[in-house]
């Protein structure tokens, strides 16, 4: 783009951001911080200003925060036109126009797509509609779930023992509510952290009084005559009575509104290049459509240029900032999104953090502390180098391991570490077969193709 053209874009261009949550807000702030003076529009289908989601399964369920009071602080004035409570329903790439649910159309010079993900609902629709069957993604979901927990249910049943399900189980136990957790895999958190760490998570749940059922699937939800859920049926033919069921089966990417647009968008997200520019369905990069946050899948140099989808708070922030910067810059000034994946969770009073991409790990070794004490650092190896690390109540060491991942340091770890125990030998990290998805791994590795292979292209009908 000529300098003239770019100057004009920065002065009086029109930038539209679809998805008014964490990534959308941080992108808007960055655009203004970097001098974008044109017209900025944020479109969000939720009727709320951007709010933070991680507290919804933590401080909110613990009664330490109100579900309707987790609004994100603004880092600066963004002077934007907000279109809240209205969904984007279509995109016309050649006319550079976003269609809205209310019939309106908004034109752009640059578009950022940050539509995130939504909770995967229970697959049998009539059962999903039963009163007491809950999801947890939005503040309204959190409000509803919190009210139900406060009412003192006889038992809460959680389908799926990923991070979200486990956090809800933890909150229930803290409130003294009996809780059953069902997981298709052999342990909680295995999709994200593997079986070695999954075994620790199992101990954590059972010792805190969770009735944990693994290697089972839920086959049906049973309602009573008034349409309230009353029992859960499992594949081992057991039946568990419960009056709240939390469906925690991972997420679905909000890309349906892009069907027929010609963008490389599908069930696995929207593919973009390292500069956050979206690919079209042919695998050709666009130059005016950018992607950030949970909905994006982007290649990462540290991890073999495989496309990664990261449902991580920190990724949404970092990618939004990079996308925004690149939206108003020329080639040489653009930056790649090379964020080191980092994630945290907390459950049963334990702080769990990871850096890198654990699911790529073939082996794991406990370099510090001990699994039995639930205070340790585990390092994951892939093809002879360190690819990720996880800590349970041992945050302070993670930054060190982050540097090791960046350097491509060798695995097994050769350097001596503080508090190394005899158990610190490499063992199989024990991830489940990736073709049998567990309940919502927070990192999805999705191969090398910018076009979504599960996607069939349907040309738009005009």
């Amino acid at each position: 783009m000529s300098a003239d053209h770019l100057g004009q874009l920065r002065r009086e261009g029109r930038i539209v951001i679809v998805g008014a949550s964490l990534a959308g807000l941080r992108a808007a702030e960055t655009l203004r911080a970097e001098g974008f003076a044109g017209e900025l529009t944020l479109i969000g289908d939720e009727p709320y200003e951007p709010y933070d989601r991680p507290p919804l399964s933590k401080s909110v369920l613990l009664g330490k925060a109100s579900p309707h009071r987790t609004d994100l602080p603004h880092r600066r004035e963004i002077d934007a036109k907000w279109r809240l409570g209205v969904a984007a329903t279509g995109l016309d790439l050649s006319a550079k126009r976003v269609r809205l649910a209310d019939g309106d159309e908004v034109e752009y010079d640059r578009l950022l797509i940050a539509t995130g993900v939504r909770a995967r609902p229970w697959f049998k629709e009539d059962e999903a509609r039963l009163d007491g069957v809950c999801l947890l993604r939005t503040r309204d979901d959190a409000d509803d779930l919190y009210q139900r927990l406060k009412a003192g249910p006889r038992r809460v049943f959680i389908i799926g023992a990923g991070f979200a399900g486990s956090e809800v189980a933890s909150a229930c136990r803290e409130m003294g509510i009996p809780v059953t957790v069902a997981e298709r895999a052999g342990a909680p958190l295995v999709g994200a952290l593997g079986g070695v760490i999954g075994a620790v998570a199992t101990g954590l749940q059972t010792e805190n009084g969770v009735d944990l059922r693994t290697h089972v699937t839920v086959t049906g939800l049973e309602g009573d005559a008034t349409g309230r859920v009353r029992a859960v049926h499992l594949s081992d033919e057991s039946v568990v009575e419960a009056d709240v069921v939390v469906v925690s089966l991972g997420s679905m990417r909000n890309t349906e509104w892009l069907n027929g647009s010609g963008l490389g968008a599908g069930p696995r997200g929207i593919a973009c290049d390292a500069g956050c520019r979206a690919f079209d369905f042919r695998g050709i990069v666009t130059d005016d459509v950018f992607v950030a946050g949970d909905v994006a899948r982007s290649p990462h140099a540290l991890f073999g240029y495989q496309f990664l989808s990261l449902e991580h708070w920190g990724n949404a922030v970092a990618q939004a900032q990079t996308a925004a910067h690149n939206m108003i810059c020329d080639g040489a000034d653009r930056r790649p999104h090379l964020w080191m994946p980092a994630f945290w969770s907390s459950m049963f009073g334990v702080n769990i953090k990871s850096v890198g991409v654990p699911p790529m790990g073939e082996q794991i070794m406990i370099t510090q502390g001990s699994l039995a004490e639930r205070r340790f650092v585990g390092v994951y190896g892939y093809k002879g180098r360190i690819i990720a690390a996880v800590s349970f109540d041992n945050t302070r060491w993670l930054e060190f391991y982050q540097r090791q991942i960046e350097r491509g340091a060798p695995f097994p770890v050769e350097f001596p570490t503080v508090d190394r125990r005899p158990e610190g030998r490499p063992v199989d990290a024990d991830f489940p077969d990736p073709s049998l998805p567990t309940h919502g791994p927070m990192i999805t590795l999705s191969g090398y193709s910018p076009a979504d292979q599960q996607l069939v292209f349907h040309p738009a009908r005009h």
Partner: protein, 81 residues
Amino acid sequence: MRLVVDLNKCQGYAQCAFLAPDVFAMHGEESLIYNPHAPEEQRERLARAVAACPVQAITADGLEGLGERGTGSAQEAHDVR
């Protein structure tokens, strides 16, 4: 006042929980639990916590007028690079 803690950065040092115990609390050994909406009377304390966090993990807005100490969010804005 709205606030958010970047818990990837947070090291669980608990300075914030010491300075503004009604907003921040440790949960277990090193997990931080906080209220993302601090009531007005917590303004001073919140500003102190923002300034004291050794890794600048806390971003808050609405702290204007408290001079130097209220700049947690402004610092964050420079973090962009």
